[in-house]
Subunit: 345 residues, 4 copies
């Protein structure tokens, strides 16, 4: 089968690979129908993710059809259409039992990282009963691809950790796909204001279309001043959706006393935490690798049309165009790509 394979720092290729097989009684083999590319895949290609070794099939998102199952799988059966979670969860370990699937002792983020992923035709899913979700009848499968990773990430790490409540003032720093996922799901809680901060005017335009009440460009480095002026003293919740020190500092500067900074960004270096000021500001700072514990809830919100994740999809490719898809996604500032769909079957 055709697969997009990481070949070491900066290198990737489409290779022909053998079909995966059931190895454990809890495994399922899933025929990939639709997948996508994540910012994390680009990080892997840059060599930033040491757990991912050359030879790995990338991809941790997708919708597929169950092909075969191990003897212990009871929740899905061959022929079922399923959503593949980016997080593998055993359902048994201490972490899984407390809903922290990201730290599952035999799972977590392994797909397209420690084991072969979804940017191919078939994928082996360990702990299938607790890592796959049946697609509801009549669902738009393209939209559901957004539920593998990006929507639960924006929702859990940004919105839930940010404790957004009706009437709140929220700022989301970073208007890329993940910031926009936070923007979409923040609206579940009816905040009064959602201020989007970014450097890219196109992305700010998209944010306005997706529900932002204000868009603030930080190209002049004055986003903090603007947000402070608009809010008269800061925001209840600042969501960091980039992953660099500068954007985290913006969050420190705009969070109001009693507020929350919810970090989503994947950081490569430390940041300055200005405790000499914040110690007395009654703030909460949270970090989180997505647990995908809210996937069942998100499926309900999509099915009841409380949210339309398709709004994040800008481009569509077939699996044999996947190198083009990477190219388009990688040059997002130029192509205006947000999420790209790769039809694998």
């Amino acid at each position: 089968m055709e697969a997009l394979v990481y070949q070491g720092h900066g290198k990737k290729a489409v290779e022909d690979r053998p079909m995966p097989e059931v190895k454990a009684y809890t495994d399922a083999i899933v025929k990939v129908l639709k997948t996508t590319i994540c910012g994390t895949d680009l990080h892997i290609l840059k060599g930033d993710v040491p757990t991912c070794e050359p030879g790995r099939i990338l991809g941790h998102e997708g919708v597929g059809m169950v092909e075969t199952i191990g003897a212990g799988v009871t929740a899905v059966k061959p022929g079922d259409h399923v959503l593949i979670s980016c997080i593998t969860s055993c359902g048994k370990c201490d972490y899984c039992r407390k809903g922290m699937y990201s730290h599952c002792t035999t799972g977590g983020w392994i797909l397209g990282n420690r084991i072969d992923g979804t940017q191919t035709e078939y994928v082996r899913i360990p702990h299938a009963d607790t890592s796959l979700y049946r697609v509801p009848p009549g669902a738009d499968e393209e939209a559901l691809v957004m539920l593998s990773d990006i929507l639960p990430t924006g929702f859990e790490c940004g919105v839930l950790n940010g404790k957004i409540t009706p009437g709140d003032t929220v700022a989301i720093v970073g208007s890329g796909p993940i910031g926009l996922a936070a923007l979409l799901t923040a609206q579940f809680y009816s905040p009064a204001e959602i201020i989007m901060v970014d450097m890219d005017d196109n992305r700010l335009e998209v944010a306005k279309r997706l529900g932002a009440t204000a868009a603030v460009s930080n190209r002049d480095g004055k986003a903090v001043d603007k947000v402070m002026q608009m809010t008269g003293g800061g925001v209840d919740c600042a969501i960091e959706a980039v992953g660099v020190p500068a954007t985290f500092l913006v969050c420190e500067d705009i969070v109001a006393p009693g507020g929350t900074i919810a970090n989503i960004g994947v950081h490569g270096v430390k940041v300055d935490l200005h405790l000499e000021r914040l110690w007395a500001h009654n703030v909460t700072i949270t970090t989180r690798l997505v647990d995908t514990v809210t996937t069942p809830m998100l499926l309900k919100t999509v099915q009841s049309r409380k949210i339309d994740p398709k709004q994040l999809i800008t481009h569509r490719f077939t699996l044999d165009q996947i190198l083009d898809a990477y190219d388009t996604f990688g040059k997002a500032a130029h192509t205006k790509a947000l999420k790209v769909i790769i039809n694998a079957a």
Copy 2:
């Protein structure tokens, strides 16, 4: 009347001052019975607190008797013995209405800072109805002095923010008075382990007497290793009770995935936040200036003997010995002082 007055950087003196008078409808004049000295008073003397100007009577803790009240005061009357909260709260502003008294728009920490304080014979208490608490009949007033500041601080900023639950593993970094207050109140929630970290062997001994299940010296700089080994992977809650970068870093290093760092310490400089590691650890970091919103709850726990705050008192003085009291408190490493009681009447 006799008063301990801040005279500018490094200087203090006992001065004769006029009696305070009711200025607003909601004021009360309280005759000070017992007061104490706080680490923050030492900070003021070092010049670290710019809001506190020379000429100020210091002190924000104490128990007293109401002498006179403004026309609008209804909750206390002359003759009532009262606990003086270190935080002044109007009960009306948005912050007060949501329990964040520390940020009261006409109060907060003003006593012995922006207005004259308690290290004297009489003190004016603004917003008396919502800043004084009647002493329960039969209460030990010396013990209650610990409820003005140190116990609610340890409890709210450390224990409540740290979300300690039964069976948890807790580390408290800093075994001074505030760390010990966290230690005492952490036991309200029956954690399995409370590991105390400090450099001072005497304070670690005291911690063990007050309920620590383990005491770890960091004089060799190996506290992190020791705690990680004892806990097999970190603590559910790390409480920072010093206020310097090194101790905050210890907290970052020992907090387990899913855990909380609850900062109590007053920080003078920024710290490094290692988001390049913590971004995926699902941790929560909190800061807080004490709100004293739990004072009624703490009074009940003292009255029902769930806690004995007197254990924190090591020395006793009269008001005319207050310079000695400062000396003893200031040289705590030598005198083994924790909290000192100053009998003002």
Copy 3:
């Protein structure tokens, strides 16, 4: 001044009354601009509310302009337009300090009950600083009348107590003004389904227009069967918005294991609680007299257009037409009245 006065069981009249005066330093006299009639006013007229004695000016809702203030009032000043809360809160007592204003020891629901109310030209508001809310600039004052009682009641007693979260299935039993207020505010949290149950087809039609995803008539007594079938096993949250045993029983029958019954209705008699079945269903049942603690939050949601409370207003009158207004409101099944606005100035 003209006032609608309760004259004992079944009797009311428009009387000429003297202007109210400031009695306490925390009082304000408010010129009533707009008021309304509440179902509770009808209860008083039926003699169901023994605390309300003949001679009382009725009404506990409204928007007005501050005329004069007592010496201790600081949050509002003459000329300010204000929202009058149906709950009077001192801001000082134990209940107020924990946000349970409904049980304020010198307040609670007293307006138009134990003291004269708002269905007149001027009203005395005790504890003005903590019982009035300034009208935001540019606000629609007619819409804000809904924030005196009905919206916080539906929101606090129904939606917040019902712990509604995104994707939930909710049923609201009773589609009168209070059930519709719950319907409007439930949508703050993006439930997947909101099923409205009533006997009155007109009110069910209104409910659909206001956001219900399904409307179930109980005229055939089969609402329980229908809801169970629609939901495949019951609802996450059942809100009781009538106040009689039959509707509470519907809630007991449709709540799913793990769900919540949030009672809003004012009950006159006991109900059967089927613990022989519910003991093992992990359900929560809540009761609440509105605290109006969410008024600031609700003001923000109205100002940011997350909700349009004007949708509840069906009729408008002037103060001298107030007897007509009562007639219209009292015959709601016939007049299709929901909330009526009475313009007093």
Copy 4:
């Protein structure tokens, strides 16, 4: 093997039964070391539990040693000493994933009810990975038998649902084993007062020894008056630990405004809920079949000696004395039995 078998209404006998065998991948066969008798077993014998058919081996509590495991079991291995949870949990279904194991679609309370139980020599445990807990090294296995059912039941249904916090006033109505389990675990949260209500003086004596701050006899029917007088207006949390209307009514009568009634009792008939009074009291009423989701937490509290569950054990028997054990446990008023240990190996 020897087994205590339910033989239909009122009848039980010791029978010889074949060893159980692994039927599913996820089963384990556990050699029973220690078991006990639960009040629910007596209910079964009275014919109150229709799901339990004649021929069933009773018992849903115990500590044992794993004998054999199915191919899919990974968390325990032969030779491991394990605590057997009274609740079987698959770890996969929607209920298990949200921590509501009591309603597991293929588990819940099935042991000694729908499938053979623990009052024998060997027992088959389905979903072994998520229904057994390894005994910590050095643990007192007799004490751990209390963690199969009675301690998590008292803790989850009574204490956690009752939201007990430091300084609270608590009443526990019913001082039998389950009420005492609530008493022991309530102390995790340092309430100021725990008032125990019962008719049996011996059990009230035991309650005092186990930490009750007051014991109130209801033999004169005046418990409500006494509790109201002692508390000056009611309790923050009333725990129902009997399961009859009279005791639930006591809870309704003693709960303070803002308080909680946490039901533990297994009820056979409906109760009167006095909503005509409680509708405005801001109370919460909860029901729950134990989920045993806190078993890991409780194991930590036992291991760290925050609680000593052995205090509940009054009698000890061997398996061949099990009929005597039932006799002793059944006549508790006479024998003063609380929990009896049956040593099966």
